[in-house]
């Protein structure tokens, strides 16, 4: 039996933490445990990469953070956000998800215009001020580095955009809700190299204002853009440190084996 206890888990000052999990367990269907006792702290205005082999529980962990696993799994443990444990029944998950946005593996824009993609959630929330909506659309698209490419075709279908543009639109759509944290689950895995590097540039810029947690299978990508990296194995967070340390000087034997490409 491998040693699955954590080799090293970095921590931050309370004032630096944007989001913290404490002893998080995830049990699919309430019985099949796929994530074990995970306690990680995410630093404000940084990009944290989650790496690990397929099936190691990266998505399971990530999707618990904005409660997207509610309907399929039991999640035990605490998720601390602004001093509040948001993994409780009485938390308004709809409000929570506006503060903790999510971008998925496959770009999933709505079959609506570019403009409506960004404003739909705001309007569904009761925002009627057209001026304000237009401002938010422009701000979000600029922040996602998409404005210049689409400013003349805001009323065209989002489905006509390229995959890379669609993914940046999905980021803009999440930004429109003014989140603090953005969760990204392999956001570049469906994109070509050029779109990927554009997306990476965008994420690096967003670091100024947002805290990002990103699952990736691409080690180079993790090395290129993340500040911190957490390595998952069989549902356990084995090692969590600065990206430099994880890639150059890993503490755990399994981490080292994974980084060197021995498995996964």
């Amino acid at each position: 039996m491998e040693n699955l206890s954590p080799a090293f888990i970095t921590t931050f000052e309370a004032s630096e933490r944007a989001l913290t999990t404490e002893h998080l367990d995830v049990l699919y269907g309430g019985t099949i445990q796929k994530l074990f006792d995970t306690s990680l702290q995410f630093k404000r205005n940084s990009i944290t990469a989650l790496i690990g082999a397929s099936g190691s529980g990266k998505s399971t962990f990530l999707r618990s953070l904005n409660r997207m696993n509610d309907t399929v799994a039991t999640v035990n443990g605490k998720i601390m956000f602004h001093g509040l444990n948001v993994n409780q029944a009485n938390i308004n998950v709809y409000e929570l998800r506006k503060s903790i946005g999510m971008v998925f593996q496959k770009p999933n824009p709505f079959p609506k215009s570019i403009y409506d993609n960004i404003t739909y959630a705001l309007r569904a929330d009761g925002e009627k001020n057209q001026q304000k909506l237009a401002t938010i659309v422009e701000e979000s698209l600029r922040a996602a580095a998409l404005w210049d490419e689409v400013k003349d075709k805001l009323n065209q279908s989002a489905l006509a955009l390229s995959g890379g543009q669609q993914q940046r639109l999905c980021i803009a759509r999440a930004l429109a809700l003014r989140p603090e944290i953005i969760l990204l689950d392999e956001p570049a895995s469906a994109l070509d190299p050029v779109s990927t590097s554009k997306l990476e540039d965008t994420l690096k810029q967003l670091r100024e204002k947002y805290t990002m947690v990103m699952v990736t299978h691409n080690m180079q990508q993790a090395a290129r853009i993340s500040d911190y990296t957490a390595f998952f194995h069989l549902g356990h967070a084995i090692e969590y440190d600065t990206t430099t340390n994880i890639f150059t000087n890993p503490q755990g034997a399994i981490t080292e084996a994974y980084i060197q490409g021995s498995f996964g």
């Binding site: 904005n66 997207m68 998950v93 709809y94 409000e95 929570l96 998800r97 506006k98 946005g101 999510m102 998925f104 496959k106 999933n108 824009p109 709505f110 079959p111 609506k112 215009s113 570019i114 409506d116 739909y120 959630a121 569904a124 929330d125 009323n155 065209q156 279908s157 989002a158 489905l159 006509a160 999905c170 759509r173 999440a174 809700l177």
Partner: protein, 295 residues
């Protein structure tokens, strides 16, 4: 045989089979139109049907058919949509859901004559609605609901789960995600469902013989008061549709031009179904484009 020959043989068989289908359909359609169209005239469309002499039209039957179609769709679409949304978005995978699904499947293959008799007993006799458009529309709703519901359910299920995830991840509630994203995305499929069931309703006779009745009563097209017995909008009056008219002319009819009348009515029926089909698709696409910015 070589691979190449086998391939050509299989392709040939497939072309042959599809040819049979096309020839059959074209033959039926052509036959109906060729026999019927020469008898279709403005006079035929605008005059009352006649019980005894030749030269009657189908004005009332045409109106009744369209009116019943509209009423039935107005009643059944919201119910079917609600049930389909429940089944595709909310229902858990348990025995109750399975029971509902099996019931819907069984009901959708119920012979229309049985639905007609059921409608007769329940609406005509028990509820006392008599032979009326209302009884007919309600019976047709029974006839229509199962298939419409499963068609709509299928098209809702066809919307990718990633769309629902996208909505939820933006902090939208389940309902807002369904209403604003899933249903609009499923619209083309929903429209197809409505169109198909519209065609079935339009051609339905057995259900209506026992519920909407046969005798076309006196109808006044200038009387817009739905409560007045002679108004064309009155839902309590008996109403014969085009399909029922064909049946009646050929069974009980004593008019001398029965063949011509039923051929013309048949052609008219086909034409109206085609027009309904095309226009529903046209307006449906317009709506879809408006909701989705699609071109």
């Amino acid at each position: 045989m070589t691979e190449h020959q086998k391939d050509r043989f299989a392709t040939g068989v497939i072309y042959f089979l599809v040819g049979i289908v096309v020839i059959l359909l074209a033959g039926i359609l052509g036959n109906i139109l060729i026999n019927g169209l020469p008898h279709l005239s403005w006079h035929f469309l605008t005059s009352e049907s006649s019980d005894f002499q030749a030269g009657g039209g189908v004005r009332d039957q045409l109106f009744n058919s369209v009116y019943l179609l509209i009423l039935t769709t107005i009643i059944s679409l919201p119910i079917a949509l609600g049930a389909a949304i429940y089944l595709s978005e909310y229902a858990r995978d348990n025995w109750i859901t399975h029971l509902i699904r099996s019931t819907i499947e069984i009901l959708s293959s119920l012979p229309s004559i049985v639905v007609g008799l059921f409608g007769y007993l329940l609406f005509v006799v028990q509820f006392g609605f008599g032979f009326s458009i209302l009884s007919g529309a309600l019976a047709l709703t029974f006839f229509n609901l199962p298939i419409l519901t499963s068609n709509i359910e299928e098209s809702l299920k066809g919307v990718s789960a990633t769309q629902r995830e996208a909505g939820l991840a933006l902090g939208l509630s389940n309902w807002k995600t369904i209403r604003g994203i899933v249903v609009p995305a499923a619209l083309p499929g929903i429209i197809t469902g409505v169109v198909l069931s519209g065609g079935r309703i339009f051609g339905e006779a057995a259900t209506l013989i026992y519920t909407a009745g046969q005798s076309g009563s006196l109808v006044d097209y200038h009387n817009w008061n739905p409560l007045s017995p002679t108004s064309f909008l009155n839902v309590m009056r008996p109403a014969e549709t085009l399909a029922v008219h064909i049946w009646k002319v050929n069974t009980e009819g004593i008019i001398s031009d029965a063949t011509a009348v039923s051929a013309a009515t048949g052609a008219l029926l086909v034409l109206v179904v085609i027009i309904f089909n095309l226009s529903a698709r046209y307006f449906g696409n317009k709506l879809y484009q408006k909701l989705t910015a699609a071109k």
